[in-house]
Symmetry: C2
Subunit: 336 residues, 2 copies
DNA sequence: CGTCGTTACTTAACCGGTTCGGCTTATCAG
DNA sequence: CTGATAAGCCGAACCGGTTAAGTAACGACG
């Protein structure tokens, strides 16, 4: 615990604190000779700026906030979030920004967290995930004046800056694929309907199905393996039995696959499966799962870059990150 | 951006800043009447203490650090970490502590992170995961004087405070189970040998096998699904073929299961599988996986509580959190 | 009645940086 | 040789809290 401060460096170099600050921050106001000496002494003493002090005088926290309002269980099960956080970190690390990560139970707690963060000057901005239809967080963030980048479709963003992936295009690709294989009755096992992305996919699903003259059904779940399995069982034992199922995440797809195999049916002979979110799970099952793949790590990184740009004065805008790519594997084939 | 400060509260109440501070912190030095008025005004203005300012004068950051030195890919695939972080957060949230989470590539970067954090006064303490045999981080942390709680066996902790689960007892339970089913040739698909937990399980595995007169083999991997699958293929096509495999995590077990089924073999008829780390994965496969279950969320929470205790002056000590519990499911049966 | 002890404050220093105004000194044009 | 200009540096204020030390008012007590 050496507690090296700028004052100590100033003492050793025989200059004032202010001069040391200029030297260390690469600003004009000191001679090159002095600057070099200061930098050398600072290096010798292994000085690093005290974060709290810098934040206090800069009136910036050099921290971004991310609140996850999902059950601990979902977070553990779904690889999505760790990947997203990993991408965020990769960008923040090089800017020596930090991430304040908070896991809460519901939207109300999430709002409370934003209020607290704003009052404490805890974060310089936030990233908002799991956008809802008519999301109550948007007006609150606006009122708090907390810079935010939303993760989701511009249709949900109400004019606030956002980064999105084109779920409609992805859904079209998935339905074109199963339709071209000859499937006519398609089920969709979706996430919670209040989630904006789910809503958008629901629309896209129905629209594309009409275009392709497919018969459809949609089951909404909470994204969990348990409900994915239950929905699969419902659908498979229903009549007429669909010949293809499109899942909203890979966890439910894997759970569904196990259910189908447990019922003595075969994938892809009896049922074609398509997953969304292509994590390692899709490659370790037997058969491997056809999936809509997108780069979650890159997504998190892109959102972070946009937030950095936003707080340095960039114009807020919607930015399309990518369109999920359909990766065709062993779980899709012509029906029966 | 209201920027409410203590000074503003003082002005409105007609008292000094100091008095306001005493009132807000529930310390003696102000009358009850004044205290009540201050609290009311603070509530009206929605005041919250500026975090940086408090940290600067308290010389504490109210933040704990956690560095994960694993590839982004591993982090995404393994549910373990998100669960651990969730547990940490649950304890920190109520103390209004924060977590500084950093994802780095290797141990050297991890050490650099600790040095930086120590110099910046960025964190009050750290939790150290993935303990190594003769871990190079321990002397560095000691030298930096950074309070730390290690996540791992006391045998690896070199006298530093740690929280651990009893891997030896768990391994004994697993081997007792497969031996009592009648298995005689057992394989272990392990993590990287430099990891302390893996080393301890290796020892326990060999020792228990000798006690039970079992024939053994060990394959080390990097914990990934890919290497878990490859090791499984090696083992299953080798001779004599083991009749039971014990995996070091559930991800590899699931990947191994797919490989075995892809080779036309049946679980549990041809092979008994046992996984470690019982996440949702073990329940969504078909058959479901027998696993050594432990509460990762609770583990993270316990480590955090110990770290909080440590920085408030508790004696450093080793603390056994739990012994993983063998949950018997459909993947284990007498050899076919 | 003078003294002592509390209570209820105020004042000011401090945490460790950043930043602004101003003072020296050197440089250079006129 | 003088006056203007700028580079280089100092001192001090400031960010928003905490806290030690000082002070005024008041009641109790010998």
């Amino acid at each position: 615990m050496s507690r090296v401060t700028i004052k100590e460096i100033a003492r050793r170099c025989g200059v004032s604190q202010g001069a040391v600050s200029y030297a260390l921050n690469n600003r004009p106001g000191v001679s090159e000779a002095t600057r070099a000496r200061v930098l050398q002494v600072a290096a010798e003493l292994e000085w690093a700026p005290n974060r709290a002090a810098r934040q206090l005088s800069a009136a910036r926290s050099e921290t971004f906030g991310l609140v996850l309002a999902r059950s601990a269980q979902t977070l553990i099960e779904e690889p999505y979030f760790m990947g997203f956080v990993g991408g965020v970190e990769s960008v923040l690390a090089e800017k020596s920004y930090a991430l304040a990560l908070q896991v809460v139970a519901d939207l109300d707690e999430e709002l409370a967290t934003y209020r607290k963060w704003a009052a404490e000057r805890r974060v310089d901005g936030v990233m908002v995930v799991d956008l809802r239809v008519a999301d109550p967080r948007l007006p609150v963030l606006r009122k708090l004046g907390l810079p935010a980048v939303l993760v989701g479709d511009p249709a949900l963003a109400d004019g606030m800056p956002c980064v999105w992936t084109d779920g409609t295009a992805a859904m079209n690709a998935a339905l074109d694929h199963v339709a071209s294989l000859g499937h006519r009755v398609i089920a969709r096992i979706a996430g919670p309907p209040e989630y904006g992305d789910v809503w958008i996919r629901d629309q896209a699903f129905e629209l594309a199905a009409r275009r392709l003259s497919l018969e459809t059904r949609i089951h909404h779940t909470d994204y969990s393996a348990a409900q994915g399995a239950a929905a699969t069982r419902d659908i498979v034992t229903g009549s007429p039995r669909p010949t293809a199922i499109i899942y909203d995440n890979d966890l439910m797809a894997v759970a569904g696959l196990a259910v189908i195999q447990g019922l003595g049916l075969s994938v892809p002979d009896d049922l074609t499966l398509v997953a969304w979110d292509d994590s390692a799970l899709c490659r370790i099952t037997h058969p491997t799962l056809t999936a809509l793949s997108h780069n979650i790590v890159g997504y998190g990184a892109e959102v972070t870059r946009r937030l950095l740009a936003l707080i340095s004065g960039a114009q807020p805008q919607a930015h399309l990150y990518s369109t999920p790519l359909l990766i065709i594997r062993d779980s899709s084939a012509p029906p029966g």
